[in-house]
Symmetry: C2
Subunit: 385 residues, 2 copies
């Protein structure tokens, strides 16, 4: 059987790098693309991941040492169409996993410049990709990372991308109406609309993965060696809430809950991200299909997450307080939240739920690396107003 | 009473220029902004408006001669934030009417470059405007030109921007789900989403005018003198369907209907555009309100429009054929179409409907200028595939 080929955009990132190793381990031909913009944004904001992250080239070399497998890499910006075109033409992917976007809501809310940059960077890279797929291989399956934050917190159940609407005695299947919470989330909404159009007009096949909040430090492959680590963020710009709480618990400072902590979101383990992306790639959308999966496994309020971390820390002898603080974001509190997430399970996802043991393992890794943590980069300095 | 101030972005355009004269005639302080990009796109595509259009400066001078009133003008690109910021700070508008975008669906479908350009140009200009309004005067009312084409042709009634959705026993008021038909239409969808967010998070006041297909050559003010004319387009890039049919009838060539002509859309007279914009400005949205009006007065199929032009031409002794041709666009045929458009009427709009007399007047002007028309620029050379 012909070896399958997957191209991973944003292959130097928190999720991109473990995804690349996963497919490589399973025998796929893997190429990664990155312009290392994320490392630049980190420097700009003065934040860094907890564990030291080797350069992409070093990680690729380390992966080759461990697995005997080669990951191809291309340095460049997907907003530069000639670059992406050349990569696509030479690598000839069967699937593209597109993580290559500015991924932070706070970053997009720093200033007008950052809002504009986020939307232009994300929308143009994605448009370039759509045109290149159309031109060179319309059968190439696009797996695009979206976010559950595109939906916001509507007062109705959130469906997976599409909604059957009955209105004045008639009905239609429409894109689920969205209420995104930042210029970053809006960029993903724009992307989704552009992709749906490309599927509808050109017959492209795409899967939009509306992902929840990811937590976790290690995947099967990153555990093999410290030099394979991925960029675990706990800071106020790129760190997600559970990851941040884990580091706060280790540092012996209170877990900082924004507002009253009633904000409810979908969550998933980084290992489940890998599972979901794998499932999406192995079972592709049909030509012309714009398929949307809600990619999370459980939903919690921020307060519940804080409580879980507090209890797990207590198990390890760490006394932790929970402290509320003024919310830097503008978001609804005490809202309804119920989001469907059955499609990935129907295709075989076996969730790894957020147990005490999972948090304890995260705490153990964070404790080991506690001396590397920086308390100063946790407090939010970017506000929505 | 203090003189009210309106800033018009895209003030050199088909609708922008007559809008500027209308507000000026009514005693408003008016400033227009344009970078003349539209005139550049015309040259790029090798198309031109039917009537000779003076430069903006000449038209402003002519308007001063006729009315005694001064329209302030600023040359520049609203994607350059410092430029727009300086205009906003110096002029201090109470309302901004934003026509300043790339307005053609075919133009956006010419190539990847043009799709990317259209989305970046439109989205960035609009984002800049939102940030500037927030910074300098959050009470300034934004009147943004959208398009009915954002909705596409859903199988349910189209409401005015928002939809009360009942789903699994719960309900919410959501943005009406959209199915736009080109990268241009998508740019307007992105704009609308960004504006709704700015209203929700920052308390801005905005009116999004989802406009139908505009027809007509003259407004009250353009009739005063040929040097005040506005840019009537009949070409395949910027010309709307009724305007194109009128010129085809004058040239004695068949009216070219794309596909079977069953495509149904909302239409309005250019004079009603002016009325609607005036109403929106005089009766502004509330702080925090993202208000959407569907701005059209009647809906017709393309076949019906062709038939109306044929009959009006016949009244004037012009024998005209209707000819169908392969559709360069990808769009639904024989679709359901029913779009609500009551809000502007409730606020006082008195529609000028598409009577034979209206078409005959258009035909008369086109006939007078028939020698200026170019048959070569009517045939569509841009396809959606």
């Amino acid at each position: 059987m012909k070896q399958k080929r997957v191209l991973i955009l944003g292959g130097d990132g928190y999720l991109g790098w473990p995804t690349a190793m996963q497919f490589s381990a399973e025998g796929w031909a893997v190429a990664v693309v990155d312009n290392f913009a994320k490392r630049q944004w980190e420097n700009l904001c003065g934040v860094a991941p907890l564990l030291p992250i080797r350069t992409l080239r070093e990680r690729i070399d380390a992966w080759k040492d461990h697995s005997g497998k080669k990951i191809e890499s291309h340095f460049g910006d997907i907003c530069q169409v000639e670059f992406l075109e050349e990569v696509f033409r030479s690598f000839r992917p069967d699937a593209v996993v597109h993580y290559g976007e500015q991924p932070s809501a706070p970053y997009s809310m720093r200033s007008r410049e950052d809002a504009v940059y986020t939307q232009v960077n994300n929308v143009v890279g994605n448009l370039n990709l759509l045109f290149i797929i159309k031109k060179y291989n319309p059968r190439c399956h696009l797996v695009k990372l979206g976010t559950m934050g595109e939906y916001g917190t509507p007062n109705i159940d959130i469906e997976e991308g599409w909604l059957e609407i009955r209105h004045r005695g008639r009905k239609d299947r429409m894109l689920f109406p969205k209420k995104p919470g930042s210029f970053y989330h809006l960029s993903k909404v724009h992307d989704s609309a552009n992709i749906e159009f490309a599927c509808r007009i050109w017959g492209l096949a795409a899967t939009d993965l509306n992902q929840g909040v990811v937590y976790g430090i290690h995947t099967k492959e990153t555990r093999l060696d410290p030099s394979l680590a991925t960029s675990f963020h706990y800071d106020h710009v790129f760190g997600t809430v559970l990851n941040r709480f884990v580091v706060q618990a280790c540092l012996g400072v209170p877990l900082s809950v924004y507002g009253n902590g009633s904000q409810t979101r979908g969550y998933l383990n980084i290992n489940d991200t890998l599972q979901c992306v794998r499932i999406a790639v192995l079972k592709p959308a049909r030509p012309g299909e714009f398929r949307v999966f809600n990619q999370f496994t459980e939903q919690f309020s921020v307060q519940q997450i804080a409580e879980k971390v507090r209890l797990a820390a207590l198990q390890m002898g760490l006394e932790t307080k929970i402290q509320t603080m003024p919310n830097p974001r503008v978001e609804q509190l005490n809202h309804y939240y119920r989001a469907r997430h059955t499609k990935l399970k129907e295709l075989g996802l076996k969730p790894q739920l957020l147990t005490g043991a999972v948090i304890e393992e995260m705490l153990a890794v964070a404790l080991e690396n506690k001396h590397l943590a920086n308390l100063q980069i946790i407090h939010p300095s970017i506000t929505w107003k």
